[in-house]
Amino acid sequence: MYRDKVGQLVASPLVTVVDDGTMTGEWGAIGIDDEGHPTQSNTLIENGVLTDYMWDYIRARREGRRQSGNGRRQSYADLPMVRMTNTFVTAGKEDPEDIIRATERGVYVAKLGGGQVDTASGDFVFGMVEAYLIENGEITEPLREGNLIGNGPQVLKDIDLLGNDFAMGGPGTCGKDGQGVPVGDGCPTLRVKSMTIGGTAA
């Protein structure tokens, strides 16, 4: 999906995305990756522009790039793959209260559950565990469980307000090809212009 797109605008200019395995104390911190290479902070998207990918040894060598310390494996019984560590969207400038106030009609998602992502198309689905309706700039009633569905690259482009309240999320496990590795993620309060919400009250 992001093949051959380094240097191109792939997200809203507000968005900077970093993968950083050196964040001591975070769930995805690894120090040294599972191929023996030191981990580091890698900026993947800077002000909306794709700057780099993550690399393990074999793929970096094949493409003539430098390893980025992202070769990870679940255990001795698994082969290394390119995997994230702590991935996050850096803080913006807005007060989160102002973001809600600036939203006439929307949904405030307080907690997402599990989900699924198609990495080729970027289509994703996440369950909303806790969500509320926003009406005329105020959080009003809670919503029952439903799904949030969208396309990752499109959502990155549709981010129009970014809060100054950056926080890392809870400990996570990223599963890929049957291998699970501990990861961290983080972001500030952010607003996406448009997304589809599934439920029975359409």
Partner: protein
């Protein structure tokens, strides 16, 4: 079991023979191996050959359970595992229902699980098959790229012995090929997959796997978001299988006993359209997960869970059955020597109707054929029954397929969906899953798109 494994049975028997008065002991001994081959652009990219073995021991004393396991069959390690399991009993919480299964007189139905041809199949020939699958897939459509072509096989031997009189052992092997695809069109990339399973590689249908992988990736190119409305959905057999998988947790005796099923206290009630009869039948050799014994060593059996729309039975292990004052239905599940038994459906199947998918679609004026769902396990709550999942497929207009649609959700509740089933296909597909697939038509589902 059909073919015993005396060597492992003796190991299990020796552990059980060490039981002291007042102790129940179960020894679960297994060993197995697997081969995994991945081909990319005509070359082997990844080759894994692995073996493992181990023992898991449960000790129950005064209602307290202790469990320990080790990944070795070395006799001194097994003695240590038994000592650890006994030690762990002291940390267990007393549970009046704790205990092992007791032979219940139900006869096993013999099936064939071991294929000698697969056991002797040469590795170079497995690689040839994997390359052939990649080549066939690329030949299906010029827009299709192959992400990876895979061959996987595995074999396993198991023995279980208990102080309560269970003494079973057996072995089995299986293999499958799979291919994942990408299809490109202008700015858009879609994914697909195809697979084939068989008792031996001779039974693979590589052409079907290649065709399905190419079709799944290409059929969504150019798909749009459908409008939001209430509509009729036709579930593809693959999707129905996943739907049954979600339903299975509501029919699980342990969930019922713990108040985590929406069907608790509803035995004897009409919970589905009268056309619906749902069975769990691991004795059917066509089922991918067919077995002759369950995870505790009791004979596997056919259980009718919903009959003519009426809820008849929950699946039980010996433990959940004791909690609910009933008998085990032979539905203990087990993840291997490193885990204790759970409860679950083993091989679900809806009793099929007679129509083909095309005939079912011809009866739908306005609806959508659901070919893929995603996020099913995050959007479904088996306690409340709330159901919401991402989906893609094709619109149906006046009984015929229309344009492809994606990036929308379908939602209802499990309770309502079962009652809203309006037709059941005859197109049974024995998928590599715990539930067989067939086409299913459900009315009044909320579609959220634009």
């Amino acid at each position: 079991m059909t073919i015993g494994v005396p060597e492992l049975q003796e190991i299990a028997d020796r552990v059980v023979a060490a039981a002291k008065p007042g102790e129940q002991i179960e020894a679960y001994v297994s060993r197995g191996g697997e081969t995994a081959i991945r081909v990319y652009e005509g070359e082997v990219e990844h080759f894994v050959s692995a073996q493992s073995e181990g023992v898991g021991i449960r000790v129950i004393r005064d209602g307290r359970t202790g469990f320990a396991y080790a990944g070795t069959l070395d006799p001194s390690a097994i003695a240590e595992v038994l000592a650890d399991a006994r030690d762990n009993v002291a940390f267990g919480t007393p549970d009046e229902f704790a205990g092992l299964a007791t032979p219940d007189g139900v006869e096993q139905i013999p099936q064939k699980f071991w294929d000698e041809e697969l056991a002797n199949y040469p590795t170079p020939d497995k690689i040839v098959l994997t390359k052939e699958l990649e080549r066939l897939t690329l030949g299906m459509d010029s827009r299709v790229r192959v992400e990876e072509s895979n061959y996987d096989d595995g074999w396993g031997e198991v023995a279980v012995s208990t102080t309560t009189g269970i003494r079973e052992s057996g072995r089995g092997n299986s293999c499958y090929v799979s291919v994942s695809t990408l299809a490109d069109d202008a700015e858009e990339t879609q994914t697909g997959f195809g697979y084939s399973v068989g008792d031996s590689p001779k039974e693979f249908d590589l052409t079907r796997a290649a065709r399905e992988a190419a079709e799944r990736a290409t059929r969504l190119l150019g798909a749009s978001k459908p409008p939001s409305k209430r509509t009729t959905v036709v579930l593809d057999p693959f999707v129905t299988s996943q739907f049954l998988g979600v339903l299975s947790s509501t029919l699980n005796g342990e969930n019922v006993a713990k108040g985590r099923s929406l069907f608790a206290d509803r035995l004897g009630d009409t919970v589905a359209d009268p056309r619906i009869t749902l069975v769990d039948d691991p004795t059917n050799p066509l089922a991918y997960t067919a077995t002759d014994i369950d995870g505790e060593g009791l004979a596997a059996r056919r259980n009718v869970l919903i009959e003519g729309g009426v809820l008849k039975k929950f699946v039980q292990s010996s433990y959940s059955a004791r909690r609910m004052s009933t008998s085990s239905t032979g539905n203990a599940t087990r993840g291997g020597f490193a885990s204790t038994p759970g409860v679950g459906c083993l091989a679900m199947q809806l009793v099929p109707g007679t129509k083909t998918q095309t005939e079912l679609i011809a009866d739908v004026d306005d609806g959508v054929l659901i070919q893929m769902v995603s996020g099913l396990h995050s959007g479904v709550n088996p306690i409340s029954g709330d159901f919401s999942t991402g989906a893609s497929g094709m619109l149906i207009r006046n009984g015929a397929l229309g344009e492809p649609v994606r990036e929308f959700t379908i939602a209802s509740t499990l309770q309502k969906m079962l009652l809203d089933i309006v037709a059941i296909g005859g197109d049974v597909d024995w998928l590599p899953s715990r539930a067989a697939g067939l086409s299913l038509v459900i009315r009044d589902v909320t579609m959220s798109g634009q």
